[in-house]
């Protein structure tokens, strides 16, 4: 009755026709949602080699708003690497996560957006999460992406007896407890954890390990499903940078030679831009193997479209000077290293007296006072780094101005006083301090010869220590020689880099002595004590014990405020005890972007290259880069 009256009255007519009209229009537009694709793919569709684009895309493709313009199809993006065996290669152009950190021109840390998973729902105690997968996504060979691809990882890789494949550290629990994975339907997965995992989103975002695989592809090489397959076949199938392995990333590998890696557009990529153009815009993304010097020359010649980090810092001035010649833009951006240079002391060094001295807080304070940080930064980084003591990143839960700026003073006199107080004075008149028993205090500042500027840093640091009477020598060796002693715990010190993740508990290995002790001493000392349950090694002191406790409690703390409090405690503990000695500060790294590469927000973003977590490509959104010419 109401309907008829509405229909009949004048006003009712208008409302009705309006509503009807709207309904019709929406229905029509939904039906006619068209997508565009790259010409080379369109040609393949014509030839019958590929299904039409609407069938290749999922029901609701992820829409990416380009940073600046709608791009054009075509072209090859050229980059370079200095190591073709590195794990980072996978990160460059191939990786996608289930849930992506929210990144855009405005950086919003701690926020997440749907990617391969459209929804995620944690239980209140964070002991389970329900993931809804994006419907209709396909692997690069056309096979559907579904719940099976997640279950396979948990059931057939991590916890399978048929293959030797280790779960990631966060999936290992006491008493061999396991994560359970269950598929509620083809696109819904429930994961149940034995302990609360509030940092699950952070874990699944790291590129070191996978939470989904092309199960249809790996199954063929899995011994449990194919009797003729061996462990070697399985490992070859699991290799993420192998030619022929299906991917859901924007590009897929077509050649992995000894001097370059070539990737081409993935025809089944599941993202489109705001006008319905299937991404990526570029046809290809190539990485060439070059030494940093040659790479600098290549860049100057205009042959590099994009590269972040990798350049030797000393080459940066040349690269910067020739921006016009090479038609590119070069700048220095903050890197993901909380501390680009840090001195780690081996608390169980071969020389027992030295080890005992290292464990004295006053000795560490003296070492820190001896270092002239402004001189170090000026020499190594042309003054481009802000000195800092802790390996925290600016957005970190552990960030604390007070602790960051502790122990930065350069005061050799104070250092001398502290050393005198420890009983270290020159007993035989040779100009070097000695232990009470007359033996000279000697230590080596050890690092890699060929990597970056650590060799130079070691020389400078040794000089600073010599200035306060300690016989310190730089010991800068090629990797093969250094690594022998490193593995055996024989180094006195180690000069390297360090970082804590924005949520430090997402990667406890950076501060937990039970996982990665200072100077990598996994042979003697505290690490052994934790490994053997107390039968071997040295019993941890209060600081080390607390660090380990934080590493266990932090990742399971479901209340973000609690985690923040723990992170702040970590900072305080680390700073007050000088567990490692920060030498410089957050690293800066050269960034080169060619002017012909569009939609790269090189200047307008505050960001940093990530150590594996908030993947760099998701700042960049590499899929929406395009070649302008």
């Amino acid at each position: 009755m109401l309907l008829v009256t509405a229909f009949c009255s004048k006003r009712g007519w208008k409302t009705w026709s309006l509503t009807l009209g709207l309904l019709l229009v929406t229905a029509a537009s939904a039906q006619a949602a068209t997508y565009q694709e790259a010409p080379e793919l369109a040609a393949k569709v014509e030839a019958g080699e590929l299904p039409p684009v609407a069938q290749r895309l999922p029901d609701e493709p992820k829409v990416i708003e380009p940073y600046f313009d709608i791009g054009r199809y075509g072209g090859t993006i050229r980059s370079w690497v200095s190591d073709l065996q590195s794990n980072n290669l996978h990160n460059e152009a191939l990786r996608e996560e289930l849930i992506t950190p929210k990144r855009g021109l405005e950086v919003e840390f701690g926020a997440w957006e749907p990617s391969l998973a459209t929804a995620w729902d944690f239980s209140d105690d964070y002991r389970s999460v329900t993931l809804s997968l994006r419907r209709g996504v396909r692997w690069s060979d056309g096979d559907p992406f579904d719940a099976e691809d997640l279950l396979f990882v948990v059931n057939d890789m991590w916890y399978s007896d048929a293959v030797d494949y280790d779960p990631p550290p966060w999936a290992l629990f006491e008493d061999d407890a396991r994560i359970e994975a269950e598929a509620l339907d083809a696109h819904t997965v429930v994961l149940r954890f034995p302990v609360p995992l509030p940092l699950f989103l952070e874990y699944q975002a790291e590129y070191f390990w996978e939470t989904y695989v092309p199960s249809h592809f790996i199954r063929r090489s899995h011994p449990a499903y194919n009797r003729e397959a061996s462990q070697a076949n399985f490992e070859a199938a699991v290799d993420r940078v192998a030619v022929g392995r299906p991917t859901v990333g924007p590009f897929m590998v077509t050649r992995r030679g000894s001097s370059d890696l070539v990737t081409v557009r993935n025809p089944y990529y599941w993202k489109v831009d705001t006008e319905g153009n299937q991404l990526p815009y570029a046809d290809r993304y190539t990485m060439r193997l070059l030494t940093p010097e040659t790479a600098a020359l290549q860049t100057v010649a205009g042959q590099v479209d994009f590269k972040m980090s990798g350049y030797a810092f000393s080459d940066y001035p040349v690269v910067k000077e020739n921006e016009v010649r090479g038609d590119y833009h070069a700048s220095l951006v903050p890197s993901s290293r909380g501390l680009n240079d840090v001195l780690e002391l081996n608390y169980d060094a071969p020389n027992k007296q030295l080890a005992a001295m290292f464990r004295e807080r006053d000795f560490r304070r003296a070492l820190s006072f001896a270092i002239d940080r402004s001189d170090l930064i000026e020499t190594l980084y042309l003054g481009q780094i802000e000195p800092k003591f802790l390996p925290t990143l600016p957005d970190s839960l552990a960030w604390n101005e007070q602790f960051n700026t502790m122990h930065l003073a350069h005061d050799p006199a104070q250092a001398g006083t502290l050393l005198d107080g420890l009983g270290l004075s020159d007993r035989n008149g040779d100009g070097w301090r000695d232990y009470p028993n007359g033996e000279r205090v000697a230590m080596k500042i050890e690092t890699y010869a060929e990597l970056e500027s650590w060799g130079r840093a070691a020389e400078l640091v040794a000089g600073y220590f010599q200035a306060i009477g300690l016989f310190a020598e730089p010991d800068v060796r090629p990797a093969q020689l250094l690594l022998q002693d490193l593995g055996a715990g024989r180094l006195d010190t180690l000069l390297l880099w360090s970082t804590w993740y924005p949520d430090p508990f997402a990667a406890t290995r950076w501060f937990d002595p039970a996982v990665r002790p200072p100077a990598f001493n996994q042979t003697t000392g505290v690490y052994q004590w934790f490994e053997t349950g107390g039968t071997e090694g040295r019993e941890p002191n209060a600081v080390e014990a607390r660090l380990h406790e934080l590493a266990v409690e932090g990742p399971q703390a479901t209340d973000p405020k609690r985690r923040q409090a723990l992170a702040q405690e970590l900072s305080r503990l680390w700073a007050e005890s000088l567990y490692t000695i920060g030498l410089t500060g957050q690293g800066v790294t050269p960034l080169v972007v060619h002017n012909r590469l569009g939609n790269v927000p090189a200047d307008t973003m505050a960001f940093y290259e990530d150590p594996g977590q908030y993947m760099a490509q998701h700042f960049w959104r590499i899929e929406q880069w395009y070649l302008k010419e």
Binding site: T76, R78, Q85, S86, N87, N88, D164, D166, P168, P169, F208, W209, Q231, A232, E235, A236, D239, R255, G257, S258, S259, D260, V262, R284, T286, R288, L289, L290, T291, E293, T294, L297, Q298, V300, A301, G302, Q303, R325, Y448, P478, A479, Q480, L481, L482, L483, Q484, L486, G487, L496, T499, A507, R509, W510, V515, R516, F520, P611, G612
Partner: protein
Amino acid sequence: MLVYIVRRCLNMIPVMLLISAVGFVIIQLPPGDFLTLYRQNLLTQGDPAAEAEVARLAARYHLDAPLWQQYLGWMQGFLVGDFGESFVHRRPVRELLGESMALTVILSLAALLFSWLVALPVGIISAVLRNSAVDRALNVISVIGLSVPNFLLALILLLVSVFVWDVSAVGLFSPEYADAPWSAAKVLDLLTHLWIPMVVIGSSDAASLARVMRANLLDHLHSPHVTVARAKGLRHAVVIFKHAVPLAVNPLVSQLGMTLPSLISGSVLVSIVLGLPTAGTLFHEATLYQDMYLAGTFLLFTSLLLLVGNLLADIVLVLLDPRTRYT
């Protein structure tokens, strides 16, 4: 002649076996092994999966077996054409070397050609115009070519090509042509990239060859048979090129056999600097990482080249100089 060749070929086998054994041991001599390096590399990159990865590799490549067992296992593979697997690349050695050998040999042959094409005329001119200004100038250039290290010369030429000629000669092809099908343009692109390594690698050899050629020719220019030729009234050019040069070239040809392998190993640093995908770069990486099978196979291959090269040189010598007798 045939008997001689066959006997020489048979002699090669024990020599190769000896080289393989010695090479295998030497590659292993630096302390530690591939696994320690790999593991620590991963650790310093911050990769937490290092330990497990290493244990797997140890099992897979039998790196915990005694040395002689590993050697025998490797040798056994040779019978079926399996040269082992590269730890670093996780691919069969045969594939890796096969990919890069073609380019390596082309490059070395090109360098060889260049060095001879330059050395012979320079040596002849120097000898004929002895002590003239031309001779002295060529002498200076030869010495510079001999003394400047290859990789430095490569870097300098690269710098010059980038900053003066606005062309980058890194790698084999410009990125546009790398995957493109072969065409005239692609060949031209290849040539523009090949000239620097060709010149650099060939230059030091060219310099020493030129000096040797000069000295030899000088000796022969005053020998009796050349004097006779002159006395007969033959033209100057004929005297030099038909009578003196063939004899002067004799010692150069005999060392030709050793040139190819030395060019290959001499090209390692240059290839690294110029980003060329040659076997030299593979070998360098293999020795650094103690990638035994790759390094050992490469070593054997170059040794084979040396032996075969020597044999070929001896045969050419016989053809060139009838006075030679094969013993």
